[in-house]
């Protein structure tokens, strides 16, 4: 397409300069605040201070836990949904995939506010529980980790399903029948055949869901509020209320590290499974 590499680079340069100027440089400046000493020099004391605070520890572990649980839950539900979708006729498959993508076109604010109505004391969940005799009095679901979990799962599940649909479609069609003929039960089919063959989809979906859960602000803010702080809501509090940009920088850096670590971990798990299979 291009006569030489320089020509291609020249075309990419304006976009690269723009991205560096408006994204990379501000991010580097912001993150450096967490390591800089006002009088000069560098330190990690902002990080040690952050992690020595018990509230910050609680918030960090809660964010990590919820991110992990949402990712695992979306993988479990996502595999089932994706498997059902790829089994459909081509026409129906397109329509159902469209329905999966549809929520992504609706603002997260609107989707999250809907949960306030659904999960409230007088919401349909509590009404159904009471009508079925499961509970006598309305449950307190809003402003809890459960509410945040439900909101985040609904927010990011489509990303996992789409990633897994793509992975399952690339899987050899005769892999599952062959495993069944050889006597594998459905659990073994999933664990030894489907999972290794769809690991790329799982890694992509898992990274998107986990990173999204870590960085989503609206959903934890609305469904958890300040009663159930997450790192992202704590970050907002530090910037907008306390004007503490050093603490905000620390939290931002932690979130970035967590996102990269999740991606590396998922890739490692997938690579390890590959090695096991090639050695077997």
């Amino acid at each position: 397409m291009f006569q030489n590499r320089a020509e291609a680079l020249a075309l990419a340069l304006p976009a690269a300069i723009f991205a560096a100027a408006v994204f990379l440089v501000p991010v580097v400046i912001l993150l450096s605040d967490g390591f800089r000493v006002p009088t000069g020099g560098w330190t990690i004391s902002a990080y040690t201070d952050f992690f020595s605070n018990s509230l910050n520890q609680t918030v960090f572990l809660r964010t990590l836990r919820l991110g992990a649980i949402v990712t695992i839950a979306s993988a479990v539900i996502g595999y089932a949904a994706a498997f059902a979708i790829v089994s459909l006729e081509p026409g129906a498959k397109g329509k159902v995939t469209g329905l999966v993508v549809l929520p992504l076109m609706i603002s997260p604010v609107a989707r999250t506010y809907a949960w306030i109505v659904i999960l409230g004391r007088t919401g349909i969940v509590n009404q159904a529980f009471q009508a079925l005799g499961i509970t006598e009095a309305p449950l307190r679901i809003l402003f809890s980790e459960t509410a945040i979990f439900i909101g985040l799962l609904q927010l990011f599940l489509p990303l996992m399903i789409i990633s897994l649909i793509s992975a399952l479609e690339n899987m050899p069609k005769d892999a599952i029948p062959a495993a069944r003929v050889l006597g594998a039960n459905w659990f073994q089919v999933f664990w030894k055949v489907i999972l290794p063959l769809t690991k790329e989809g799982l890694v992509i979906g898992g990274t998107l869901v986990f990173t999204g859960s870590l960085t989503a602000y609206i959903t934890p803010a609305i469904l958890g509020g300040s009663k159930v702080l997450m790192l992202e809501t704590l970050l907002y509090q530090q910037v907008a209320v306390s004007n503490n940009f050093v603490a905000a920088s620390v939290i931002a850096f932690i979130l970035i590290v967590m996102s990269f670590a999740a991606n590396i971990l998922l890739k490692r798990v997938a690579t390890a499974r590959n090695k096991q299979r090639s050695q077997a």
């Binding site: 506010y113 409230g120 300040s226 009663k227």
Partner: protein, 344 residues
């Protein structure tokens, strides 16, 4: 090709230069820093009429207090903003940081019309109050009875209460009144924060934005919440029997003030603008739109309007406001104690 790129670049630079050139080089410009709410109404009632009077251009910067103060601090050496409206406590913070100057009240013809509490809220001559508000408890009168701020923590009520987070404007005043109710009103708010912390599992939420309370009240998720009077009107339209509490400890509240930036090159214009905003006509119009309770005592309102605002000399005098110095000197401690007792 190179010629085309050069020509395009030159055209772009010329266009950018043109965009930076004021339409009228001699036109006076006043830059104000305000809260983001009700800007359409402010434009109609305050900004546009003032521009016609002064023959100047008004540049409006909006945002929350923290953002705006941070910006003023960043531009301290060469101020961009000429006049800012902030809370009483933030005005003291700005004063201590050397960001604002004394207000020359001799140039404000409407100064004499202000309630006494609005004339010099911090007692340092650095600010003038343009609106104040009462803070009390909005509650479902068919579900509960509120005679004291401490009633909110009763076992039968606590699980239907939303309490303001300590980081909100309503948080510290509500805690201060709870402290009075508990007969433990120390500036560190330790006792009321501990009392709220003891009930944190039952309290529905610690709200950050009062706008979310209307929906929670509508869904019967909550029956009561301490709120500022400026958010009262939507509650009256919910179709529930909702009352404004008059607890025996009294009502608290807050005040927003006008300040002039230190080093402003448009000081006189800023004072002229402040005077216009404090005029009986403008304050009446803002009150009629239920935007700001008037600090100008010449403003006369109907009973229906007054019921939705913080209105009148008696009300103004009765408010138990936290002194700005107390708020400023204890804010970090309040947040720390709150995070220890309530936040986890």
């Amino acid at each position: 090709m190179n010629k085309v790129i050069l020509a395009s670049g030159a055209a772009l630079m010329l266009a950018m230069g043109a965009a930076q050139t004021p339409a009228l080089a001699q036109e006076k410009t006043l830059t104000i820093s305000v809260y983001a709410l009700a800007q359409d109404e402010y434009k109609q009632i305050v900004y546009d009429p003032f521009q016609k009077i002064c023959g100047c251009k008004l540049v409006v910067e909006t945002g929350n207090s923290v953002e705006r103060l941070a910006k003023m601090e960043a531009n301290k050496a060469n101020p961009v903003v000429d006049m800012a409206v902030i809370s009483m406590a933030d005005a003291l913070a700005a004063s201590r940081a050397g960001l604002i100057d004394k207000v020359d009240t001799s140039k404000i013809s409407n100064f004499g019309k202000l309630y006494d509490i609005a004339k010099d809220p911090n007692g340092d001559g650095m600010s003038v109050g343009y609106t104040f508000y009462a803070t009390s408890i909005a509650y479902r009168s068919d579900k509960m009875k509120i005679d004291s701020w401490a009633d909110l923590l009763k076992p039968e009520y606590a699980s239907h209460v939303a309490w303001p987070n300590v980081t909100t404007n309503q948080g510290p005043p509500a805690l201060y009144m709870l402290g009075l109710a508990l007969a433990k009103d120390t500036p560190d708010l330790k006792a009321p924060i501990e009392a709220v912390g003891a009930k944190k599992g039952e309290i529905v939420t610690f709200y950050e934005k009062s706008s979310q309370l209307v929906q929670l009240m509508q869904q019967e998720e909550i029956w009561a919440a301490p709120i500022g009077r400026f958010t009262w009107a939507p509650f009256t339209k919910l179709g529930f029997p909702i009352a404004w509490a008059m607890p025996k400890e009294g009502q608290t509240g807050g005040m927003n003030v006008m300040t002039v930036t230190k080093g402003s090159k448009n000081r006189d214009l800023a004072l002229q603008f402040m005077d216009f905003w404090l005029s009986t006509e403008v304050q009446t119009k803002l009150a009629e739109k239920l935007i700001d309770s008037p600090s100008n005592k010449d403003v006369k309102l109907s009973e229906a309007l007054a019921n939705n605002l913080t209105y009148g000399e008696e009300t103004a005098k009765s408010l138990k406001l936290i002194p700005s110095a107390v708020a400023l000197d204890n804010r970090a401690g309040w947040i720390k104690t709150w995070n220890e007792k309530v936040g986890q």
